[in-house]
Amino acid sequence: MGKKITVDPVTRIEGHLGITVEVENGKVKDAWSSGTMARGFEALLEGRDPRDAPFVTSRFCGVCYSVHQMASVRALDVAFGAEVPWGGTLLRNLAMGAQFIYDHVLHFYHLSALDYIDIMAVAEYQGKDKALNAVKDKVVGLVKAKDTFPLTPRYKPDEFCVRDPDMVLSSVKHYLDALAIQAKARNMGAIFGGRQPHYQSIVVGGCTQHPDVNMVAKFRTMLDEQAKFVNEVYIPDVLAFGTGPLFPLARAGLGGGHYNYLSYGGLELDKAGKDLVFPAGVMMDMDPAKMEVAPCDPQKITESVKYAWYEKDKPRHPYKGQQVFDLDRKEAYSFIKAPRYDGRSMEVGPLARMLLAKNPDVIGLLKKGAKPGVVTRHAARAIETRLMVDACYRWCDALLAEMTRPGFKIHDTAHYEPPETGEGAGFFEAPRGALGHWVKIKDHKIANYQCVVPSTWNASPRCEKQYRGQYEEALIGAPVPDPENPVNVVRVVRSFDPCLACAIHLIDPRTNEIKKFLVE
């Protein structure tokens, strides 16, 4: 039996997460992931007007709110029989594009980068760059004033932390620059979304924001600034780290996981919905030589409750999902159910999407010797941000063209009233991966609402077949030479961009016995 280490709270993520790892001979031998907060959203939706659902489910998460609205309205579109006009789809997609760009930039610079740099190295910068020296002076000033919050305290930098003063200083500068960039990306989204966080304009049948040419022009101008940052700063930074000082981590495949990938696909680039930003697909036991992709069939999704605090039950499709608690089951250790595809544990998110799309940049990294894992996950996220920027330009043009059509529409007004009965599934690719909402309507009200969100896939506990969830599997073998300083544990977990408030919808807190940083 190795040492058990618990990191709780895992910070710089959305939500409340505790991770426990068992360490033997300096490496993670086993891992358990546990969520520690619940609000009971699905329960509070029962009996409500279905049109409340996008607004309420947006509050699953204040970081990736819009994608819940999107999955929710898509489920309602089906249940209401609404046909979203192309104009409405374009407005929705532009709002989602802004979400992706801000979210990915924020994740890399503000939620992850501090794990990879020794920030104190900035003091050794000797260069003459004015802007860099200003940042250096700022950080040195903080150190002198003995107040470097919130940049410290932190886990001690390990051998993988970048110490090169030029590289560290430019990353700190980009951390600060990116604070403004991510805010401006959200402002861009508000043009069609109404306001951010939590868009107001995304409704069943389309979008409420009637666009004009000035709005599109403003969006484009703001998009130019985002494109410049993504292409000239974000992607170069990720690649400089990933193919430079962090390449040993990439080659070692730190944080690899099961190598099973799933994407529902989404974000239409054309009216027919044939050309998608993200293709759908499933890949099992990825073999880099073959990269075989199978079609994704949501009917093959089941949720296991074997290790979650629910009444003992067989794995069920989300439409038949139940939420009856059994808090006395000793084997349970999480409030998160375990979704499986064809019985297998799947990774969802940017890496899954880019591998399934056989993105040449990501494949190129693999050819150079990188393995799927922490570093490639960050790279895939940056690379798809560029795809999203490009898509936004196309949607702007498409919207301008569509607006000139006589009878231009943004909403299916004929199908705005809730049907007496109905059901619908809404699928979407969120920044963190495959997202599904399932709704059943009875007497014009919500009878049942279920979600399987990206962080449920990735943060799930084990299932009947003992397959670990993605975080758990990805942690196996991670080096933890110093139990007091489990920096690789948080690197692995953060590389997935966890979103815990999303993952736990309805739980009961009994037997939550996580102790803070317990070393047995």
Binding site: T11, R12, M37, F149, P150, P153, A190, R195
Partner: protein
């Protein structure tokens, strides 16, 4: 609490915090330079302790939308952000130790994000501790307590769920809690309130619900640019129809006539847009009855909406004064002050 770095004139603050968008731009620059001035002679940056409970991090993201002053200057130059789960470098025991030290030290601005469960503490545990306990503990030596967003202020959406979620003032009864509802918080409201407290050493003037009157003193309706259409019962029914696109959103569930907040003048996201301008309507997120009392949201079928219409029919919701409206229409730009 102590004045942390001197005093700047109350008038300047009111200009920053209360004014219309036009006034805001100018005085904000003035304010920031003044704050910077007084802070230059302060011995250290004022500490901030941010606790997140039954939250979605939306208020954190909203704060991260601050561009003027930018968040980077707030968290590095102006404030000492000691504990904030979503932003701090440390995790696990490192994070915990910082929390303990800051609480021991006292004198911080305590920001609470998210609701607090009362049905059972275990609905929200941080580092093995009940969130409720952390809020109680941290409130003891806090210089000021700000409930950030609808959940922390009044329970918000979680209050409609099964966890017995309540706002901060239901837990902290012996101290003043400044409520900044709206879902999420508006970053101007939050930053303005923090700066107000730090520079004056006082809590801002508040209404009986603990909301600063500089932000929540007027009904959305009073400043709504669609009010003419409400008065004349021209209600939008079809979002596709260009002729209707600026009409009143009552039929689509707008709760503006019943909600106190300055959204129509302040707008959101650096002035880009806001709920009414985008054609969706106000969902009443600044009121204590949000969310349950506002549901259903995107239709006029809620009791709240029905009452509003009944009051309108009874003449209890006044029309825009005829003379004011004429002035605006005829004189346009010049009458904004």
């Amino acid at each position: 609490m102590n004045k942390l770095f001197g005093e700047i004139s109350r008038r300047d603050f009111m200009k920053f915090c209360a004014g219309t968008a036009a006034v805001l731009g100018l005085s904000e620059v003035e304010l920031i330079s003044k704050v910077t001035e007084v802070m230059a002679v302060a011995p250290s940056k004022p500490p901030v302790l941010w606790l997140s409970g039954q939250d979605c991090a939306g208020c954190t993201i909203s704060l991260a939308g601050a561009l003027n002053p930018p968040l980077s200057s707030l968290i590095l130059d102006r404030l000492s952000l000691r504990y904030h789960e979503a932003l701090m470098a440390g995790a696990g025991n490192v994070a915990d130790a910082t929390y303990e030290e800051t609480v021991k030290e006292g004198g911080y601005v305590l920001c609470v994000e998210g609701a607090i469960p009362t049905a059972d503490d275990r609905f929200c545990m941080i580092g093995g501790r009940p969130f409720r306990q952390m809020v109680e503990e941290a409130s003891q030596k806090a210089g000021a307590i700000i409930a950030v967003g609808a959940c922390a202020a009044f329970g918000g959406i979680p209050a409609a769920g099964p966890t017995g979620a309540v706002g901060t003032s239901k837990i902290i009864k012996d101290k003043t809690v400044i409520n900044l509802p709206t879902c999420p918080v508006h970053c101007d409201h939050l930053i303005g309130t923090i700066l107000y407290v730090l520079t004056t050493g006082k809590v801002p003037p508040m209404d009986k619900l603990g909301r600063p009157t500089m932000y929540f003193g007027e009904l959305i309706h009073e400043n709504c640019r669609r009010r003419y259409y409400f008065d004349n019962e021209m209600f939008l029914t079809d979002w596709n129809d260009p002729a209707q696109k600026n009409w009143c959103l009552y039929e689509k569930g707008c709760k503006g006539p019943d909600t106190y907040a300055d959204c129509p003048v302040r707008r959101w996201n650096d002035g880009q847009n806001f709920c009414i301008d985008c054609g969706a309507g106000c969902m009443g997120c600044a009121e204590p009855e949000f969310y349950d009392g506002m549901s259903p949201l995107y239709t006029a079928e809620s009791e709240r909406s029905k009452n509003m219409m009944a009051r309108k029919k009874a003449g209890l919701i006044p029309r825009v004064k005829e003379d004011v409206r004429k002035e605006v229409v005829t004189d346009g730009q010049e009458n904004h002050g």
